[in-house]
Amino acid sequence: MSKRIFINIVPGKTFLHRLSGKTKVGLFIVCIVYTIMSFDLRLLAPLMFLSLIAIVSLKPDWKVIIVLFIAIFLMNFFNIFLYWVVKPNIGSEWTGGTSTILYSFSSYYFVSLETLWYLLVRLFKMLTSFAVSMAFILSITPSELASGLHGLGVPYKICTVVSLAFRYIPDISRDYENIKVSMQARGVEMDLRKTPILKRLKQTIYILFPLIITSFDRIGNIANALDLRGYGLKKDRTYYAEVEPTMMDRFFRWSTLALFIFCLAWIVSRNIWEPATKMWFPFEV
């Protein structure tokens, strides 16, 4: 394959790679819940820090990650900028009503410490969820994802859909390339410079039609291959990719559980019991 996909298919060798699929999926889900529920730098910063350590420990291909990071950063930066444009005083609503103006463009457009803090936390939250997801994606293989989901109680037929999709996406994209060049040779112009976008979209049909037909042939064969090897025979199924839990897995599973309980407590106390109206703001006067 000329373009290496960025996900791993072969299990890696580092400490996080070697955890079982169930541990990784469980930890990821809880971390995402944690990120979503917290709008507090005291909670986000440690997770961000741990995720970064995790990413470093996974020895990734930094080039791809940095490009992705920059893209995500710019997108979210633009996002918070829009927040500011729409409501320059948005931070005050969350920090207790004060506005410490640092710089002002006009009576409406000003930069306040409160808004800056609010937007910083918002950006930080996005970047944390990016770091968590990145650590997860880098540490897991599609097979472990399937086995991990199954381990957490997802029916195995759904897990199979996940792993089959990863299995056949490269095959289908190869078919796509083949069909595309054959259409180009027949005269379908797909040069980005020569064809307007609408026409190019229309021409995609010339590729999709044969692609769907060939994929249907393949689906029939795959279905037979599954049946012939007893797929769907039993209510439960085991996974070759699901390694036996080690001490480390046990440690991480207990940590996950602890974190999960913390999340529950936090959500109950801050969102349900007595909904919080203020965020943590260290510069409060």
């Binding site: 000329s2 298919i9 180009q184 040779a185 027949r186 049946d227 090897r229 085991t238 070759y240």
Partner: protein
């Protein structure tokens, strides 16, 4: 007496979607430990028979059956596909579709996973199965990095668990190059010698006979028309009648007027008793053959010092050659040798890193893919990947419409192309209603409508039985004779090269290792070895007769040509 493991009693089957039965009155017993080849042209019902053994019928394909089938003592109608899968392992033709997991180990484990075997019990079984097929060092490999032969080994290992004592191979050779096919046949033989009952469904008789089989069943039109050993089969006249290709050396012996006897074991080119036939064969090569008329036309394509790399992998290493007008050329080499990449370079799909390719002295780099497409047409292996329209006529007109030609000219060109391809009467038929071979013709017609002067066909006969193979190739041959079109075949089929091309360019590891008349190339064992191809049985026959291989091949081609002209 051994135990019967597969029994058919007066069995008949009709698919729910068809009005006529596919199988009629099948009576058949296969015993424990036998190695049986089920031979038959496409549509003879041999795959249907296989599906009755592994339980896909009636599990996945619905229909109406009469009589009964017992496999491993179970009636397949009541046993269900899962209980059968514990006894019968099926290796499908499409090893890509059968490879459902993301690594070798995981794929071999697939059946065990489904039986919810504990992982600790699973691992040793996976390693054991992988060792049988020699893939134990590849357990962590992903499917995309494996060759067709390796994928098939994995498929085989995936069905070789515990209780599986019957292994069914559905056209195991269809997607392999000849050398890989030979290894597959050897591997199947190893599996058989370990005590498994082996059933092989194939139409490539010569390749299967590379290793001995106990019994051959020949199917035609849904019936078993022969049940016996290979020697008897080869002495009869059945094979040509039903459209199955005989081994090449047997055809040669028939050409020489030999009447074969089963006692001489003609099923093996290395072991059969040659003495009674030696004289006829020696006489045969004394006959005059018309030297092939060769009219080298003007140079159409000239490749000079072409180099090309995918990322860091050098795919084409400094290749130069010429193609002349009206030639039929074979690009041969095993999978991955660079022949397809060379074809892509000729079509402008990829461009050379160094060197140049010219068409009638114009450098191709000055043309877009689309412009090159008007001169050099590329016909993909799978016609389904090329067909976009519903109606045959529209499909052929597709490229012309895109070029905004006037309607009158489009009509005229479409009519001409369809007439040449013998599809004019079917012009208003839906594409989906015609056979594979006819779809191939449609793709060729679509190229002809563009007035292309060169056709490049990628494995035009892959997966086709002899009847369809002959149909497609004779059509292309006629086309070449009638219109003078230049044809390049990308193939690893030596038979195709011998019978239908004038010149062969042999690729190995991105280099051109030979460029000569087919006869010369095929009689040079060194080239064949280097290209990792498989020598034809004519070569072995020549060795045994103590003749230069070239003489024998020359006479073979000469005779075939004469026969064709007389027809």
């Amino acid at each position: 007496m051994k135990n019967p493991v597969i029994e058919f009693h007066d069995f008949g089957f009709r698919y729910a979607s068809q009005s006529e039965p596919t199988l009629h009155g099948i009576n058949l017993t296969i015993f424990e430990g036998e190695k049986v080849l089920i031979l038959g042209p496409s549509g003879s019902g041999k795959s249907t028979l296989a599906n009755c053994i592994n339980g896909l019928i009636p599990f996945s394909f619905k229909g109406e059956s009469t009589g009964e089938v017992k496999v491993a003592g179970m009636d397949t109608r009541h046993a269900g596909i899962f209980s059968l899968s514990k006894h019968v392992g099926t290796v499908l033709q499409d090893s890509d579709a059968q490879f459902v997991a993301l690594s070798v180990g995981e794929d071999i484990a697939f059946a065990l996973e489904n039986q919810a075997v504990k992982r600790s019990m699973m691992i040793p079984q996976v390693i054991a199965a992988a060792s049988i097929v020699g893939m134990q060092d590849f357990l962590n490999h992903v499917p995309y990095a494996l060759s067709g032969g390796q994928k098939q080994k994995v498929s085989l290992a995936g069905v070789l668990h515990e209780h599986v004592d019957i292994v069914l191979f559905d056209e195991p050779l269809a997607s392999l190059d000849p050398k890989a096919g030979m290894h597959a046949v050897e591997l199947i033989d190893d599996i058989h010698s370990q005590g498994k009952t082996v059933v092989i469904i194939e139409h490539r008789l010569e390749d299967v006979l590379h290793r001995e089989v106990d019994r051959i069943l020949v199917m035609d039109e849904g019936r078993i028309v022969f049940d016996g050993d290979a020697d008897t089969l080869l002495c009869g006249k059945l094979l040509p009648e039903i459209g199955i290709r005989e081994p090449l050396f047997i055809t040669q012996m028939h050409h020489a007027g030999c009447v074969l006897h089963a006692d001489d074991h003609p099923s093996s080119v290395t072991r059969f008793n040659l003495d009674p036939y030696r004289d006829s064969l020696l006489n045969f090569i004394q006959t005059e053959i018309q030297p092939k008329a060769h009219y080298p036309g003007e140079v159409l394509i000239e490749a000079t010092n072409v180099r090309f790399s995918y990322d860091t992998q050098e795919a084409i290493k400094n290749i130069s050659f010429q193609v002349r007008k009206g030639e039929k050329i074979a690009f041969i080499g095993k999978n991955g040798a660079g022949k397809s990449t060379m074809a892509k370079l000729l079509c402008g799909i990829v461009r050379p890193d160094h060197g140049s390719i010219t068409y009638q002295k114009t450098d191709l780099k000055t043309w877009s893919i689309r412009e090159i497409g008007e001169k050099i047409g590329f016909v993909m292996q799978n016609p389904n990947q090329m067909l976009v329209k519903n109606i045959i006529k529209e499909e052929v007109a597709f490229a012309l419409t895109l070029r905004n030609l006037p309607q009158s000219e489009i009509d005229e060109r479409v009519q001409r192309a369809l007439t040449v391809c013998g599809l004019w009467p079917m012009r208003n038929w839906p594409v989906s209603a015609v056979s594979y071979g006819q779809r191939k013709r449609i793709t060729v017609a679509a190229m002809l409508a563009l007035d292309t002067e060169v056709l490049i066909l990628d494995e035009p006969t892959a997966g086709q039985d002899y009847r369809h193979y002959t149909e497609i190739m004779d059509f292309l041959d006629d086309l070449n004779r009638q219109t003078g079109i230049t044809i390049i075949f990308i193939t690893h089929d030596m038979h195709l090269a011998i019978e239908y091309t004038d010149r062969a360019i042999v690729f190995a590891d991105g280099e051109k290792i030979a460029d000569d008349l087919v006869v010369e190339v095929l009689s040079d064992n060194e080239i064949i070895e280097k290209a990792n191809l498989k020598q034809t049985s004519l070569y072995t026959l020549a060795l045994r007769l103590g003749l230069p291989a070239q003489t024998l091949v020359d006479h073979f081609i000469g005779h075939e040509r004469e026969v064709k002209i007389h027809e």
